[in-house]
């Protein structure tokens, strides 16, 4: 990883956590729309990163978020889960060609495969988050509703971020 990339990822993390804590948590869109966008940090980490480091980074990032938002481990659990399973959607080789299309980096090109990767893992993160937050079978329908609505809103916010900062120059 180049030094500029490391600085880029640190800025990405600070930006995401700032957006989450200062803007999204104060938006108050009601009890059913509670977008969590921090997972984007894990989704964009480069493919060649060692998996143990990835897990430890997810843990540290989640703990920071929980610490600032008083969420008692909800973010940590979700970030770890996503870091653990995201490899299933990524190419195995360490230096894939662009045809694989899902190559996490700070400069990405949106296409169908990317969107399914982002959408699915964001939804899993939200489901894990709200399932553990309610942790009561009485609210199972509610958990699904909140997951779907929050995922949609979260994808919308992520799309704005793509358009503003992360879109690759046309190749």
């Amino acid at each position: 990883m180049k030094r500029s990339d490391i600085i880029g990822y640190i800025l990405l993390f600070l930006g995401l956590i700032g957006l989450q804590v200062i803007v999204l948590n104060n938006l108050d869109l009601g009890a059913y729309i509670k977008p969590q966008i921090l997972v984007l940090f894990i989704l964009l980490l480069p493919i060649e990163i060692n998996k143990s480091y990835l897990l430890l980074m997810a843990f540290a990032a989640g703990m920071t978020a929980d610490f600032l938002m008083n969420t008692n481990g909800l973010n940590t659990s979700g970030m770890l889960l996503i870091a653990f399973i995201r490899g299933l959607w990524l190419p195995k080789e360490s230096n894939p060609r662009a045809e694989f299309n899902v190559v996490p980096s700070l400069r990405i090109m949106l296409n169908g495969k990317w969107i399914s990767y982002i959408l699915l893992l964001t939804a899993i993160f939200h489901f894990n988050y709200f399932l553990l937050e309610f942790f009561n079978f009485k609210y199972i329908f509610r958990i699904f509703t909140v997951t779907i609505l929050s995922t949609i809103f979260s994808i919308f916010v992520q799309w704005i971020l793509f358009k503003l900062f992360l879109q690759a120059k046309t190749r």
Partner: protein, 276 residues
């Protein structure tokens, strides 16, 4: 031995994942089942100072409302010096309650959530000001929550807006000592449900719900809310919705109640293993 080691090395990431995940889940379940916030919360110094700055900014938007509430409370206190029946509608419950057995500690709410299933808030008084776990907290509107974690300068409180734990045992003021239980639905921060009131009781919309005297953490007669809607479904109980008195979205000033005999009462309860 070598094979076990090789196995662990081969699956080291899975093991790492499981160990870290257990750490996170422990924190979540400790909070759910024992109301103990473990490692991840911001009532300690660093996190709280971040939140304090943020809340200071946010409060500028609510200054007028806060000042008006305080003004009303002050006016009511001045007008109601006698120990008359208090007027619960004007946020002046302080005039009517008997706090002789309680120490009242003023505090500020510096971090607050209202849109989660189990909400918490942080107040800026802690063990340095004799705050203990379990103490009741009210805002100028009414009952707000109870303390669940204490740090030297700050304390973390579980809000009345949570789906798991009842904070207070309420009663209906107009009906002598008719008590029930409060359940929050998990979505609207202004509305909760009152359960366990039989259909033969004569209650009306607008009746006041206050704290009963059965708690060692709250004085009697602190407002919880007023009855908003009443309906009689199939069973033997009313279906009652109440307007919560505490406006947790905007409230900034809070009062912590400390029973002067709390240590003794707690030890009696613990010695005799009474389940509260």
């Amino acid at each position: 031995m070598g094979r076990i080691l090789a196995f662990i090395i081969a699956y080291r990431n899975t093991f790492l994942f499981i160990i870290l995940q257990i750490f996170a889940l422990t924190a979540i379940f400790r909070f759910h089942f024992y109301q103990k916030a473990a490692f991840f919360n911001n009532a300690n110094a660093v996190g709280a100072s971040v939140n304090k700055t943020q809340t200071n900014w946010r409060n500028y938007f609510y200054l007028q409302e806060l000042n008006e509430n305080l003004l009303m409370q002050n006016a009511a206190l001045l007008a109601n010096k006698q120990d008359t029946l208090h007027d619960l509608d004007t946020a002046n419950w302080a005039a009517g309650i008997n706090t002789s057995n309680f120490e009242v500690i003023p505090a500020h709410i510096i971090f607050n959530t209202t849109n989660r299933p189990s909400n918490t808030f942080v107040i800026d008084k802690g063990s340095n000001d004799n705050i203990m776990v379990g103490l009741g907290v009210a805002t100028s509107g009414g009952i707000a929550g109870k303390v669940i974690n204490v740090y030297p300068k700050y304390a973390l409180c579980l809000s009345i807006l949570n789906i798991n734990t009842p904070i207070v045992m309420p009663k209906i003021l107009e009906l002598e000592n008719k008590s029930g239980t409060i359940e929050w639905g998990g979505s609207n921060p202004n509305i909760a449900k009152l359960k366990g009131i039989h259909k033969y009781e004569e209650i009306k919309v607008g009746n006041h719900i206050v704290s009963s005297g059965y708690s060692i953490n709250f004085p009697e007669n602190i407002p919880v809310g007023t009855i908003k809607t009443l309906s009689k479904p199939g069973g033997s109980m009313y279906d009652i919705e109440i307007d919560l008195a505490a406006q947790l979205k905007t409230d900034y000033y809070a009062y912590v109640f400390k029973n002067k005999d709390k240590v003794i009462l707690d030890s009696i309860i613990e010695l005799n293993q009474i389940v509260p």
